[in-house]
Amino acid sequence: MDRALWLLPALPLAGFLILALAGRGLPRAAASVIGVGSVASSAIVAILLAARFITSPPEGHAVVQPLWTFFDLPQLRVEAALRLDALSVVMVLVVTVVGALIHLYSTAYMRDDAGYARFFAYMNLFVAAMLTLVLADDLFFLFLGWEGVGLCSYLLIGFWYDDPKNGQAASKAFLVTRIGDVFLAIGMFLLVSEFGTLHIATLLERAPQVWAAGSGIALAAALLLLGGALGKSGQLPLQVWLPDAMAGPTPVSALIHAATMVTAGVYLIARMNGIFILAPTAQTVIALVGAATLLLAGACALAQRDIKRVLAYSTISQIGYMFLALGVGAWSAALFHFFTHALFKALLFMAAGAIIVALHHEQDMFHMGGLRKRLPLVFWTFLVGAISLSALPLIGAGFYSKDMILFEAGTSQLGSPALWVAGVIGAFITALYTFRMIFLVFFGAEKHEVHGGTSPAMAVPLVVLAVATTLAGLLELPRTLGHQPRFSHFMEHTLPAAVLREASVRTELLVQIASGGIVLVGVLTACGLWLRPSPIVRALSGSRAARLLEAGWGFDWLYARIIAGPYTTFARVNAGDALDGASTGVVRLAEGIAAGLRMLQNGRLRWYAAAAGAGTILAIYLVVYA
């Protein structure tokens, strides 16, 4: 069974190849079967592999399957091998199972689209690249998947390329994440020059032997890897691409820009945890970036009108929580939050997509309202997702994962009360913007004509994810609620446990009551502000602060001024420099000669005769007298 590991990325890749080469000629039904079937069969393989992995753990808690050798140099040998361990089991399950559900949903969402086969081809390629990323045993192989998902993100954001705006959003996403990728590439060069290998397990084994804890080189390596993670995961200061990435079709937002690709940064840091443990300063940077991101992005989500942009900012904010957890060394808490977030955010995006389809591609929440009765299934599933996102106590998986993060952020050796406070304020903001969505979209007066119901292909993924979201919390029950740490127990061979300073059950209970209370206060505040028209909201909307938040703190404006502006000015000035003059000079000279010669060809017969005569006289003169 373990031999079947290669099937995981190979099946979606085969789906991509068939759809890309023969997609135009295939009928829609065949394209759906191939597109959904390839990912679904990959999901079945993943479930079987995971079941076997859990019931009878392999030796060394990892399955390695060598595939081929990329290149073999005296200084560097790079092999393609797949590695299944606890960390990649979780990632693979999320990517394939949530991916298969989203593919199924897409058959309904994209039903009338002209690029149906092209869409599934890109989606399958994405799943293949993402599985390569999470299964790679070698940073080089991982980087292949890393760039592959970036390419698919670009292709799918710009899927409706008729509108130049979508193309710009795609380019923006591609370029901004490329900035991070440059750091990652330099980090890989550094690792090659230090260790002569990119094999992850070897790196993690040898790093503590070669580098002293807290040494400068370890810090440099950790920060370079972090740079790559920041770009991919949309964290400060490279978060600007993610809200614009919502230009793509909604299933793309659900799969790539919520559940899987954007968490690749979290995966990278968790995978390379041995390097980061050697650089406590880098970990502090991660925690601070995470805390700042979750607060700033959460505040932005409060002021958005477009439902997908709210969810995009919410994704940035939730990944901020994961970074906060990584930064304080709460590795398995970060992964658990990744897991629950993938479930409830994919659910929220798909529910939002169902609303958007029912309202003829209306995305402005202020044009929605009263949909509770018209779209009951979407309402209930969206509500389940929202409960999880806002971490409402006891119900919803988000509570358990977020609570684990908050508790460890406050009590781990790298954590501090300040980080805990930031996380709790973030939880308040999360509850506020989540229930703002609920109240604006589903309550109040009906403002828009509703078109049709929810088709089965949309309903099934919504219900499945709603159930999964509700039950996922049982995987990790805190000590105050029965103490069943199944998830972190599963992770313990791959990810080190958080080192806690003070870990009494009493503290944990206090922390849980505090954060749970804050969330409830947030929900009630949202109820007061948005359930009925409120004078406070009316006074604030359109204010300077609201506009600043709607524009995402003006990061786009700032980057346009300090980076894009000077760069284009420099390029324009530089276009006319002396070096350029040499090449344009040749062109000018040729043009001048051509203009002179052209004057001879004036079309006058008599002029030609005179020229011929003059030439003859000259020739005779030269022959006779010279």
Partner: protein, 104 residues
């Protein structure tokens, strides 16, 4: 019969040739242009005849006959072209036929 000196004959031929050339360059009427060409051909023929008589050889007169034949053929083609030219441009002005020039 007085023998015309070679120099005089050649000078006459040159004068005729220059006249013909000047006519070719100056005239705009295509009929006159053709006539100027005929004058230049005859000037060349005269030079052959004068040279032949100077050395008492028949080659010069034979050459003249060749030129005469060629001129006849040339006129036949030339007049046909003139006819086409007139049909095309409704004028006999050679300067009208400048459609293949480079347009600035």
């Amino acid at each position: 019969m007085a023998i015309i000196p070679l120099e005089d004959g050649l000078l006459l031929a040159t004068a005729l040739f220059v006249l013909g050339f000047a006519g070719l360059v100056v005239r705009r009427n295509i009929i006159y242009v053709l006539m100027s060409v005929e004058i230049m051909l005859n000037a060349a023929g005269l030079a052959f005849v004068v040279a032949g008589s100077r050395w008492g050889q028949p080659d010069g007169q034979i050459m003249f006959l060749v030129i005469l034949t060629m001129a006849a053929a040339e006129v036949a083609v030339g007049l046909a072209l003139v006819l086409r030219f007139y049909r095309q441009f409704q004028t006999l002005d050679v300067d009208a036929a400048d459609t293949m020039r480079e347009r600035a």
